[in-house]
Subunit: 155 residues, 2 copies
């Protein structure tokens, strides 16, 4: 596969064809989704650029700024609400080359910490910790919606 | 480890104590380093924020913009010079919580593609391909230095 073989937008691209997770907020040319829980990371979000572009540097400078301010806002709300040990940010897109930023709250007790979420697990995460995190998500999503709406209004 | 246990700047932090790789360029409050080759990824760069902050959202908005414009510029030069299948961007920092962005050129022939570089390898990369990539690095570094200097001058 060469860069030129990246799927175009439209039905061929899963992030053009569907939201790609539970929609939390949409506006300003991007959307924030809560990812279907993968491998024990309940606080896993994605900031998806609505238009189909493969690489971050395909955006114009003002678009990059808008995109990363949304990423930083999601990160900030995760920090305020969950007090994670660390937040992980990544735009990979090897499988789905439609620009999307992973924003993941990491905890020293999670299954992979301090390794990246894509590395082999280091332990089983305690079920009670995961449950506690899941219980915090509805209020977190409400906070995300409010803060993103404020941000969009100020922009 | 809690967030509060993240090492402060100074000798306790490896990215405060040393460059963390081969210095390519330094300016505008950040540096670009070529990472010591890890696991068969010769085109592996890091944009390191010079001041000790743990999270992207610890920066001010103008600092985030400057940081990400440097990341986008490194990405763009990698794309122009190497024609990678994809560029991967990530700020993780679980082990070294001093803000640094991984910028990695990925190729469909590399050892892990399309998986993240932190996942288990999928194949051995062909030695000739890796050699070809390494041969392109001196000119790439020169291009990075020129483009980053132009960018800094325009800023």
């Amino acid at each position: 596969m060469s860069a030129a073989a990246a799927p175009a937008g439209g039905p061929a691209c899963p992030l053009c064809a569907a939201d790609g997770g539970t929609l939390v907020w949409r506006g300003c040319g991007l959307r924030v989704i809560h990812a279907a829980e993968e491998a024990g990371f309940p606080a896993f979000y994605r900031v998806v650029w609505e238009a189909h572009v493969a690489e971050f540097s395909d955006l114009q400078a003002a678009e990059r700024q808008r995109c990363m301010e949304a990423v930083a806002l999601v990160e900030r709300v995760l920090r305020e609400r969950l007090q994670p040990t660390k937040v992980n940010l990544a735009a990979l897109g090897n499988l789905v080359p439609h620009l999307h930023w992973h924003v993941v709250a990491r905890f020293d007790w999670d299954s992979h910490f301090p390794a990246p979420i894509w590395a082999p697990p280091q332990r089983a995460a305690a079920a009670a910790r995961l449950e506690g995190l899941r219980a915090a998500l509805p209020a977190l999503h409400q906070a995300l919606r409010e803060r993103l709406a404020q941000w969009a209004q100020a922009a």
